[in-house]
C-alpha cells in the first residue's frame, strides 16, 4: 500500500512537472503567439469580414494598418506595390490593408485606392476597433500571420528599406520556418 502510494506520488510529481512545464510553455506561448480577435470589419462594398476567420490555405497573411492621411503608410503601400506581384507569387501572401480613416475620410478611401490601383484587400476600421484590439497606436503598423492563424511578427512605422525585412519574413513564414520577432 505504501509502495503504491509512493508510486502514485511519484507519478503525480512527474505529472505535476509536466503540467508546470506546459503552464510555463503556455505563458510563454501567450507572449509568442497572438490569435486574432473575433471582430467584423467592412470591406469597400460594405460586406462584413470576420477577422478571426481569415484564411489563406496555410500561407501567410499580412494585416497592415494605414490611413489616407498617413504619408509613411502610403509610401509603404506604394513601395510594396512595386514588388508585390513577385512576392505574392513566391509566398502566396494575402495582403489586407486596414484603413483607420474615420468617417470624415471614409467616402474617399475607395477612390483613393482605385486611383493607385493597389492590389490589396481593403478593410475599414473607422472607430479603431481592430486597431485597439491588436494594441496598435499609430499607423503604419504591420502584422504577419502564419498558416495557423497566429501573429508571428509585427512592425511599427515605416522607413524606406523596411519592406525588405517584411519580404524576408514572408518568405520564411511561407517556408514554414520560425520568425524572430
Amino acid at each position: 500500500m505504501i509502495n503504491i502510494l509512493h508510486l502514485r506520488n511519484y507519478k503525480t510529481r512527474l505529472k505535476m512537472k509536466r503540467v508546470l512545464s506546459i503552464m510555463l510553455f503556455s505563458v510563454l506561448g501567450v507572449a509568442t503567439y497572438a490569435q486574432l480577435p473575433d471582430i467584423a470589419l467592412k470591406d469597400l462594398d460594405g460586406n462584413s469580414v470576420r477577422i478571426s476567420e481569415l484564411k489563406n490555405d496555410g500561407k501567410p497573411i499580412v494585416i497592415n494598418f494605414w490611413a489616407t492621411w498617413c504619408k509613411p503608410c502610403v509610401l509603404e503601400l506604394n513601395t510594396i506595390q512595386d514588388d508585390f506581384e513577385e512576392i505574392q507569387k513566391e509566398t502566396g501572401v494575402r495582403f489586407i490593408a486596414v484603413s483607420i480613416d474615420d468617417s470624415r475620410n471614409e467616402p474617399k478611401i475607395a477612390p483613393f485606392v482605385k486611383s493607385k490601383a493597389w492590389p490589396y484587400e481593403i478593410l475599414l476600421d473607422p472607430n479603431e476597433e481592430l486597431k485597439r484590439s491588436l494594441s496598435v497606436q499609430n499607423p503604419p503598423h504591420t502584422f504577419v500571420i502564419d498558416g495557423n492563424g497566429k501573429v508571428v511578427w509585427q512592425h511599427m512605422g515605416y522607413t524606406l528599406g523596411d519592406e525588405s525585412v517584411l519580404f524576408e519574413v514572408l518568405r520564411k513564414v511561407a517556408r514554414g520556418e520560425s520568425v524572430e520577432k
Partner: protein
Amino acid sequence: MKKHLLLLGAFLVGFITHNIAQVAPKENNWGTLTGLAGVDMQYYTRDSIIAAPIVPEKIRMNSFLFLNYRKGGFYAGARFEFYQPKPLLGIDERFQGQGVPYYFAGYQYKGLDITAGGFYEQFGNGLTLRSYEARQLGFDNFIQGFRIKYNYKGITVKGVFGRQRDFWSWSEGTIRGFDGEVNFSELIPKMNKSIFRLTVGGSIVSTFRPGEEKVIGIETLKLPQNVTTASGRLNFGVENFTLSGEFAYKFNDPSAANNYIYKPGTAALVTASYSGNNWGIAIGAKRIDNFDSRMDREAVGNRLMVNWVPMLNKQHTYNLAASIYPYAVQYVGEQGLQADLNFTIPRGSKLGGKYGLDIAINASIVYGLDTTILPARQTVFEGDTVLTPDRYGYTTSGRLGQQYFQDFNIEITKKFNKKLKLTVMYMQLWANLKTLTVSQLGKDPFVHAHIGVADFTWRVNNNHSLRFEVEGLYTKQDQGSWLMGLVEWTFAPHWSVSLMNQYNVGHPQVEKRVNYPLGSVVYNMGSHRFQLSYGRQRAGVLCIGGVCRAVPAANGLTFGYIGSF
C-alpha cells in the same frame, strides 16, 4: 483514515493533472495577451523669446500601459494612465493624476458580443454617438457601462448604456443608445450577386442629465432632463458608384454650448463617390445646425462630447498646412462642400514613366448658416420691464452665412526611378479666425495664405535614405509668412535622425521673427519605438479628426516611447 485521505488526495491530484495534461497540449495556449505602452516625457527650459509658458515642475510625463487579454470568446483588458506631476503642456490639466480608469471584460459567441466596463463605440458617421480616444489631443470619452452587439447575416444591432469618462470621474448623466443596420447585399444572396449594394441604418440616443431648472438673470428655465437624438442613414452603390447620406435630428437641448436655446438641432451629410481605372472622385456636402451634444449642459471645449461631426476638409499632414490655420468643426452651425479627386497617370505612359504620376486635387469651402436672431421678449420683473432673449434662439434661411474657411490644394507625386521621388504641393487657403477660435487671433480676423511644399526623397541604397522637405507659407495677415526646412536621414530598419527649422520670416514685428530649430533621433526596434528630440516647438493647433487643441510654444528635451507587444 489519514492514509485514505492521502490516497484520495493523490487520486484527485492525479485525476485533475491527468485531465489538464490531456487538454493542455491540444490547446497549447492559455489565451492571448497583447499590450501597448507609451511614455511622453518633456523637460522644459525657459524661453521668453517664443513666449513659452514657465513650467515650475520642469519635467512632466504622460504615460500609459494597456493590457488586452483574449481566450476563445472571452476578453478583458485595462489601461493604467499616469499624468504627473502634471500633463504635458497643452493637454487638459484636469488629467493630472494616475489610476486605471479604463477596464472591461466581455465575451463573443456566434456574432453576439457583450461588454461590461469601458468601451468605445460609434453609430453611423458619429452624428448621434461617438466615443473614441485621441491621445495626442488629450481626448478620451469612452463609455463606462454595458454594451450588447449582435451581428447576423448583414443585420447588426447594438445597444449601449452607461456613463461617460470625465477625466478621473464619470459624467453625472447617463447615456442610452440603440443602433441598427441592415446590409441587404449580405442578407439577400440574390442581391449579393447583382451590381447593386444597399445598406440602411438608424440610431436613437437618449441622454439623461439631472437638473430641472436653470436660472439665468431673471429667467428660470425649465430644462429637459432627457434629450433624444435620432438619425437615419443609407448607403447605396451601383458598381463603382456609391452614394451615402445620414440625417440626424436632436430634440430641444438647451446648454452652455448653444446659449441655452430650445431650438431643435439638425445635421445632414451626403457624399457621392466614383472610382474608375486609375482615378477616383468623392464629393461631399453637409449642413449642421445646433448639433452640440454633451453629457453635461455646462461642458465646453472638448469635454463630455457625446457625438462627433466629421469635417469636410482635407486632413493635411505637411507641417505648415496642418498646424497653423486648420479648420475646426463648428457644431453650432455650418454648411460646406468638398471635392476630392485622385488620379494616376499610368505606369508606362509618356508622362507616367516607369512608376506613374500621382495627382491629388482637393477643394473645400465652409460657410456659416444665415441666421436671424429672434427679437427679445419683454418681461415684467419687480415692476420693471426687462428684455430677455427669445429662447427658441434663431431661425435660418437656406442662404449662406458668413464664410468660415476655404482650401484648394493640389499634390503631385512622381517617382523617377528606384532611388528618387518628389512630391510637390500647392495650397491656397482662406480662414476666418473669428470663428476658428483655437487659432491665435492676430489683428486681422481673416487670413489668406499660399502654401508651397517640396518633399524630395533619395534612396541612397537599400537601407539608407535621405529626405529633404521645404515648405513656405506666404501671407500678409496674422503672424505673417513662414519658412520650414527639414533634413531626415533614415537607416533602415532601426535609425532615423532629423533636423528641422521653422522660421517666422514675415512676422509684422521684427523682433518676433524667430527660428524654431528641432533635432530628433528615433530608434525603431520591431514594434517598439524610442524618440529623443531637443529644440523649440512652435505654438500651433493640433487637430485630429476635426477636433483641435491649441499647442503652446515650448523649448526643451522630449523623450517618447511607444511599444506594442
